[in-house]
């Protein structure tokens, strides 16, 4: 071992860090701005700078001086015998299931407070009590899920200590500070959640309601901090930082936390959690809708399901971009890891992912189209639905088309090579980027016609506004097609990748501009008739179940690949996994594990939904209790 210490990595920081700066703020004393600012103040230091709490000394200083380096050992070099085993128990499967179940529940309980906060704020602004009641019902569901999340977290911790003691010891040596603060934050999270939930009916009215909303913000800030800390441990294993090539810790915990993939995962998980939370609550509302015995209840749960789906889809639309950013950063960190991810043994996984995301988009759109039945004015737009459906299915098929095919010699001969003459070009990334952008744009269109279905615009420039919308969508789609086709097939690789950015920007511009134009066009619009909440088919509710199941399964699958691209490393290129389970499992095996996890998760969620109803039931017990003496 050399005496000099080189701290990893020397990689430049990610795109987000490069372009992010805290802008000067001329905020007026608006309560919403104040609470948002509080959120920013709480989160930004931990994400992007400072975090002195974890950094006893600057990394460079430690590296140069070699101070205290001797106290940290290199990453252990283990043999298979160093991993404790219990006969009949597969260590990896236990840790895998515990981690995945913990993650599903954690995603749910972190997401629900985010949109409960938003819904509560909407209720406060509109003074519509229905929003407040719905927010309360959501948080009530998450309160039981919270304790199960903690139990599963404990199970994960115990299984790690039991089956992978050296890994846990190594990680806890580096992350001892953040693990300690994680535990403290967990107390704060619990206290805030209980206060937020149990104080809901107490903290009502002008000032008290503001206090309650601020509690909601605090709950979200603490929950997000908890997730960011856990993300740091996970991403350190993928893109280690703050250690030398042999794994000797340099002394700065902040350097290890702020590793290359930390922020890309943070962003991806926040967005995905919201989409996921929305989908699970949507499934809850769908079940309640199907079981409702009165028109009033059906209307209530239809409205709840619509809102949950709206939240899920709003987060689903930017999710592919967050995923793309994460993948680009994985490539930027390590081209080898990126190729293993997209072009190596995991390449076929993205075909499964395409099926799942196709299922998500199609079910979400189907639910919206069915929901148009609530409006008496929907007949004006029903004719467009089939065209939107055709485009979305077409885009899905492009996304689904593989690049290379595993073929027998005879098939290869008959096809004339590993690529199909016509379908082969659809397998590469430019085609898929184009397809996903088109899919998102047409889902936006579905939203737009759903919103318009029950309204009649009264502004004098309706025709001009519609022409502007048509021009916007047409120009945008043509631009996306041009970028995808020209740069994807007629220029070199660098432009193929680079063209995806203007494609994404085009999509974002279409979404934002069309929303703004429509909002202006339909300002003061007349309603065709009041919306008939509850007037929707039972079949449509299964789209919400499909959404929740597909999301759960997809998260499990992507968890497998995120962890799997480390291959036979506990901490990539630092700490080898030499256990008997170090081999990367096949996709089929992983899919079966994900299915087992999904079924366990669904069983637990059903239990939670059931238990949340039990507390409201009362059994009359006449004659059982001794009557109080008069």
């Amino acid at each position: 071992m050399g005496s000099s210490l080189t701290i990893l990595p020397s990689h430049p920081r990610g795109a987000l860090d490069r372009c992010l700066g805290l802008q000067s703020n001329n905020a007026r004393p608006d309560p919403i701005r104040l609470v948002l600012l509080l959120l920013v103040v709480l989160l930004l230091p931990a994400m992007f700078g400072g975090a002195d709490v974890f950094a006893s000394e600057p990394v460079a200083a430690v590296a140069e001086a070699g101070a205290d380096v001797g106290q940290y050992p290199p990453a252990p070099k283990l043999t298979a015998d160093d991993y404790p085993r219990i006969p009949g128990v597969n260590s990896r499967s236990v840790v895998w299931l515990a981690a995945q179940l913990h993650l599903w529940f954690a995603a749910f309980v972190l997401a629900v407070p985010i949109f409960v906060f938003i819904i509560e704020a909407i209720g406060m602004r509109t003074r519509d009590r229905r929003y407040d009641e719905m927010a309360y019902e959501f948080i009530k569901i998450s309160i039981t899920a919270y304790s199960i999340t903690a139990i599963l977290g404990g199970l994960l911790l115990f299984s790690l200590i039991l089956f992978y003691p050296h890994l846990f010891q190594y990680l806890s040596t580096i992350f001892k500070g953040s693990m300690f603060y994680y535990a403290l934050l967990f107390f704060l999270e619990s206290a805030t959640l209980y206060l937020y939930y149990y104080g809901w009916h107490w903290l009502q009215g002008d000032f008290k309601k503001w206090v309650h909303l601020t509690l909601g913000l605090l709950l979200n800030a603490v929950g997000t901090m908890l997730m960011f800390l856990a993300n740091a441990w996970v991403t350190f294993m993928m893109s280690p930082a703050g250690v030398d090539p042999s794994g000797v810790f340099g002394g700065s915990e902040w350097a290890a936390i702020h590793n290359y993939l930390w922020n890309p995962i943070n962003i991806h998980r926040v967005v995905a959690n919201v989409a996921y939370g929305g989908s699970v609550v949507g499934a809850y509302a769908a079940y309640k809708f199907l079981s409702a015995t009165s028109t009033k209840l059906r209307a209530h749960y239809d409205w709840m399901g619509y809102n949950a789906n709206f939240i899920a889809i709003s987060a689903l639309l930017p999710l592919p971009f967050a995923g793309y950013y994460l993948t680009a950063e994985i490539y930027a960190y390590s081209q080898q890891m990126g190729i293993t991810l997209m072009g190596g043994i995991f390449a076929w996984l993205f075909i499964i992912q395409a099926v799942l995301i196709g299922a998500l988009f199609l079910s979400a759109n189907y639910y919206l189209w069915c929901g148009m039945g609530r409006s008496d004015g929907a007949h004006r737009y029903n004719g467009y639905v089939k065209y939107i459906a055709i485009v979305i299915v077409g885009a899905f098929l492009v996304w689904f088309t593989p690049h290379t095919l595993v073929l027998t010699n005879e098939e290869l001969k008959s096809l004339g090579g590993p690529y199909h003459k016509y379908l082969g070009p659809l397998g590469i990334m430019p085609a898929k980027n184009t397809a996903v952008n088109v899919m998102i744009i047409f889902t936006t269109l579905s939203f737009m016609i759903y919103r318009r279905a029950n309204l009649i615009a009264t502004v004098p420039w309706v025709k001009a506004g519609n022409a502007l919308q048509i021009a916007l969508f047409t120009a945008g789609i043509l631009n996306i097609l041009f970028l995808g086709i020209y740069h994807g097939y007629f220029t070199n690789t660098v432009y193929k990748v680079a063209a995806s950015i203007p494609q994404v920007l085009t999509t974002l511009i279409i979404i934002i501009a069309s929303t703004v134009i429509d909002a202006m066009m339909y300002r003061g619009a007349k309603q065709v008739a009041p919306l008939h909440w509850g007037r929707i088919t039972g079949r449509s509710q299964y789209a919400l179940f499909l959404l929740a199941v597909a999301f759960t399964w997809l998260m499990g699958l992507m968890g497998y690949i995120r962890s799997g691209i480390r291959q036979h490393w506990h901490v990539r290129e630092i700490f080898r996994d030499t256990s008997v389970d170090a081999i990367t499992p096949t996709l089929g095996y992983a899919a079966n594990m994900v299915s087992i996890g999904t079924i366990l998760f669904m069983a637990m969620v059903i239990f939670i939904f059931w238990i949340s109803q039990v507390s409201t039931r009362k059994t009359v017990t006449e004659g059982y209790w001794k009557e109080a003496a008069e």
Partner: protein, 276 residues
Amino acid sequence: MKNFLKVVFFSMATVAFFSGFANLGIPEINPAPPPVEEVLDLGAMSLDEFIALGERLFTGKGTCNLCHEPIGGRAPLLDKITSIAEERLADSRYKGQATDAESYIYESMVEPSAFVVVGFGKSGSNDTESPMPAVSGGGMAFSEAEMLAIIAYLQDLEGVEVTVEIPTEVDTAPEEPASAEAPAAEAPPRAATPEAAMTQYGCGGCHEVAGQAGALGPKLNTIGALRDAAYLRRSLLDPNADIAEGYPPNLMPNIYGDQMSARELEMIVDYLASLK
């Protein structure tokens, strides 16, 4: 209850469909097993075996062929690397210290950004920074000997003279895929002394040396007084490189570079150089 069962059935059917598609709808690929530790006896290798080691490292542990391959165009092709090296060393963008093709390839492995081929730099670096990791560190952690084996493989691939000398010692414990063929297991038994090596390869059949009296080639009894080790090594690896006066070319077989292990070669060279 009916609704509950319907929803459970629907959800289970959805899960079964996803699982079924992942198991039956796409080809099942078995990922390669993790590499296992194997101590190489480099000194016992012939040049062919050393080149074969380089190929295995290139396609196995190093996963170099993931990027350096024609499909995808992620990294420059290396099939003409030695021919192109001279041009690159003369390029104004070259920032390294290499002086010839061999040292250029070596430098490209340990310091990939010394020269970045146009169009293959990291995004935004204007081709000044290579996306390739240094192979001497990180997960690959190639030893010196392994890097030399890759150079030998690339030279052999291109069909040019292999200029690399096989090191006799391994500086770090190298790793090889478990599935890789173990070359040492199939290699012939190696000589322990220079005399034994010269007997094994039949030097005395043609040369007068080590108590034998061949008359076909030049006498080698005092060759160390006339020629240095580099000359002797070259003569063993490429007998036609320098022809002794009075002897025709192509008389000595050009096979010893392939047959001898690096250690045997060095033993013979040292022994001959000591004959003064």
